[in-house]
Amino acid sequence: MPLQLTYEQKAPGVFTLQLAGSLDTDTYQDYEAEVDKLYAEFPVVKVIILDLEGLTYISSAGVRVILATKKRLKGMGGELGILHMQPQIEKVFAIIKALPSLQVYGSIAELDAYLKAIQKKVVAGEM
């Protein structure tokens, strides 16, 4: 199944990236290209929230590129968050013991509270 990707700026430096379909050997390069496009378009990228509501499948190739995004953000003092992780996707992350180091949000409300806190940090120059 192909991968559909859409990003949106929620606040300065804060983005959501929606993924729908499969993130795997055949599609991980599409994901990388979309993240590169986001970085090319916006000079400041501090937080990327991956909205995985429509993601039905992930393999280690997909996990790797998410890991790379997290590293890229962390290198610049930023953060990666995950929203709406489906149970089968969560299971894959759980098996490779990645859940403890991921910020996972179950709902938009939970994410909004987080984004407000992030905004304060950005305004205060802490991020």
């Binding site: 499969s22 795997d24 050997t25 280690s60 790797r64 098996i95 403890p100 180091s101």
Partner: protein
Amino acid sequence: MWHLDINTGNFSMTEVAQRIAAYLAECRCPEGIIFAIHLVVEELLTNVACHGHSPEIRLGIEMTAGHVLLEVVDSGVPFNPLEYEVQGLDQAFADREVGGMGIYLVKEMMDELSYTYKDGKNRLRAVKQFAP
């Protein structure tokens, strides 16, 4: 046993996954199990295609009540995934090196694995059990 021959130089994982899913759905295999088999096949094929130097892979699947048997046969470099130890899973996600995750997933997703190397062929058999 249902078979699929894959040319490692030129294959679409999406197409392979669709064929497997169609076959398993026909056998009334539960969706969660189809997901697991899809994942395991992808990890094993990617591994053989990247490191095994085998021109072809023969995939076999057999489904009986509560049990899917998956067989992957290739003529590449001898490689026993059962002996492969994955390092670094205790490290934070962002600090990890990227290798080995696929094989670890295979081991964790399947209930039984066995490997033989005979007549120049790697043969990996993996079983997934479920409540029928």
